[in-house]
């Protein structure tokens, strides 16, 4: 308690708290799964057009699956 009276304290930065909610969410979603594709679409622009972008993301996700001739599944554990 012996600081300069007018000097403001400098808070210490917690590195873990630097992660945003969506950064944290991404870490819990299946890599290259539909959830991540939808999250990317959700975050890429403003919320008004997000449903359209997400539907496009679903279609792209399926097109890629078709191109790879794989069965389209939402989650691949």
């Amino acid at each position: 308690m012996d600081n300069n009276p007018m000097e403001e304290d400098q808070p210490t930065q917690d590195p873990a708290s630097a992660l945003s909610n969506t950064d944290r969410l991404r870490l819990h979603l299946t890599k290259e799964g539909l959830g991540v594709a939808l999250l990317d679409a959700w975050l890429s622009d403003d919320r008004t057009d997000a449903p359209k972008r997400m539907i496009d993301a679903i279609n792209n996700f399926y097109d890629k699956k078709q191109a790879k001739n794989e069965p389209a599944t939402a989650t691949e554990d």
Partner: protein
Amino acid sequence: MNRPRLQKIEIHGFRSFGTSQQSFDLPPTVAVLWGANSQGKTSLAEAMEFLLTGHIARRELLASTKEEFSDSLRNVHIPENAAVFVAADILCPDGQIRRLKRSLTEDYKKGNQGCISKIEIDNQPYQEADIQNRLGIKLFQAPLSAPVLAQHTLAYIFSAGPNDRASYFRAVLDTQDLEDFRAAVAALSAQILAPSSKEIGFLQTVESIPELAKSFVLIRKSKAQEDVEKNLLAATTTFLTNLAITPSGQLAAQATQIEQELERRRTRSFPIDLFGRSSFTAWDRNSTTLPQCAQNFIAERAKIDAETRRLVGLFKAALLLPQAAEGHDLSDCPLCGSVDALTSARIESIREQVKATDTYQASEKSIKQALQALDASLAALTTMRDGSLPKFAREKPKARRLKGFNLGRIRALVGDETITSSWIAETRRIIRNAMAYKNSIAATRAYITVIQDSLESWNDESALTLVIDNLIARQAQYAQSNEAYVQATQALAVPLKNAVDQSVNTKGWEELIALAREPGSLWDGLLQLAAHDKKIKSIDAAVKEIEAANGKVSDEKFSDMSISVKEWWDYLRPDEPAFFDAVQRRGQKTKRTIDIKVGLSASDDRSNPKFRDAVAVFSQSQLHCLGLSMFLARAVQEKTGFIIMDDPVLTSDDDFRPNFERSVIEALLKAGIQVIVLTQEYSHWKDIGELWRHRNVKQLQIARNDPTKGSEITNEDDDLAAMITRARIYIKSQDANQRKEGAGKIRDAIERFAKEIIVKNKRSNGEQIASITDYDGKPFSNYSQQACDLLIKDRSHPGKLKTAYANVTSGAHDDRPPSAIQLSSALGDLQQLKRDYIDRP
């Protein structure tokens, strides 16, 4: 990055603040404001909430009492046209000082509608988002958006129902964005339109035929078009067998069998077949060469005189004579017998005349062919027109009636007069136009006959054009009515067929026939359905995955928060055997139930604790402390620049107050947070002032002496002013005990005044070590005369001081409290003496 700091606050007309505009400065470290009950502390806290969020959270949290907050923001005593606003000078993270001002435009009204306000930053209008974007003030998620702690905030956490508590913690954890994302993904299924091809519609209808249900389960599961065909054949075979009809071998043939049976049944109920009609194709006027042929013919005919045209046959016959062919020089004419008349010169002349008529003859041939061709086309057109009329229009009325086709039955079956009336109108129109069209065709054909019969002399091209124009006009009219009739009949056909099918139990048959005829289209439709189903299932799976992942993020943040809450709890209540353990979801799949777990230990070292829900086992004091810990943890987590706390420590929690004054404020300052404390505890105010004087603490007081002026904030760190303010609350009380307490407080203030002027005088005479504490414990009578001797500005002053003291001092056996007038007079005199000898010496 620097955090925003409040530098100055201004309030006018908001809640307890009235006509007297209040303005006070704040240091970047700690400010403490003292005020007794009902003097405006909570109004000040809510003024800051209003400034930052445009509403007060108390109304949002106490949803059942929203109605009661009607007209609650505007001070009731200020004039109607007076402005209501809260403003603050804010040192922003970019180093600039900006003034944020929010003015109330419309107060809360009855019902759920919020109040309306407008924001200005440096006198320019701005949006809510600019509070963060321009000023760098990060607000929390609703409902507790502002960094303002109030009693109702603390109570809310523990009194809220499970859903509201979950929402609160979602707000505290600031995970609403994740919930928004999950909800947006969950809503996608409804936005992806299911395929709607004709075949899928047929499929759904056919599935309602009970005996085909099993077959269509197999059809839906088909893996290839061949499977669809095989399963459809099995379905139609079963269907026909059930109808006691021997199925033909092929699918298409079986479709025809079903169709025939359908027609038979429908006809038995209602002669739907009488609506049958052929398609109609309009005649193209460019398909005839007649107008050109006619024009050419008339032109060629004009070139040859009539006598030549008349004799050309005779000439041709003459040229076929052997004499003419053999080229005899002289021969008798075989037609008239003239001797030597058929000379070679004459034969040559005949040959030239015949040659000249060749072009004419060709044009004549052309026009005749064109006339015949057009006549044949129009004959075919007549037949087509007849066929394009519905069968009932071609039947005689009696025959129609015998078959049961009449308007009464149609009306009854359709059950919708609008549809039936429209159909009747279009039927009348098409029959009328069909007749006109037919007449026009007949007229054209009649004129063709006229031309054929008078070809030698006919030359009226314009009449021909007129006849064809008329035909085309009538045809266009018919085509138009034909189109309208098709639409009206389609509208009629749906309810009519449904009614008929229902009466003869043939619902779905028509669709079955269509599917059996186009199994390829059904396969395409099934593929589309399968793709759609897969997408919907994968969205559902994605929602579940996101939900689980959101839960994990919440767990992480709960864990982070729990660590932080624990720290604050330990600052406030170190070494207490009961302690906070965690905020957590009740289970891995739980979204709606948030538990606040605490540990109960029998030992001071918190060993072997038993864990329970806080709400169940904590005292009110402990819950309050836990709520405060959570608020502080959130403030640190959100990296807020400043916090405002209204009575953060309960009056009954004297034991823990020093922990707050020292450890909590110190930790907050270390976390880079500007601290503003509002308290009703004078000693708390005083202690914080003493403890944080080295950090330039600001001490303020709030009092409301005049309801119209409203709450007034003074920059007071001197004890005498605080004592006068505290005493003022009691002097007008009707309660004798209150007035007695007020007398005591005025007496303390008079003694303090006396000590202050004596010490002041001693110090001005060089006695620098003189201190008020020199007089601690001494009776007023010991130093009152010394003080009176210093009151030399007016001869009445010593007497005023003595009288004031006497008025607030009871005699040895006098239990009666002073009157309100006596107290008011004593306090007034004391304030005047303070002004004359201390404030403005």
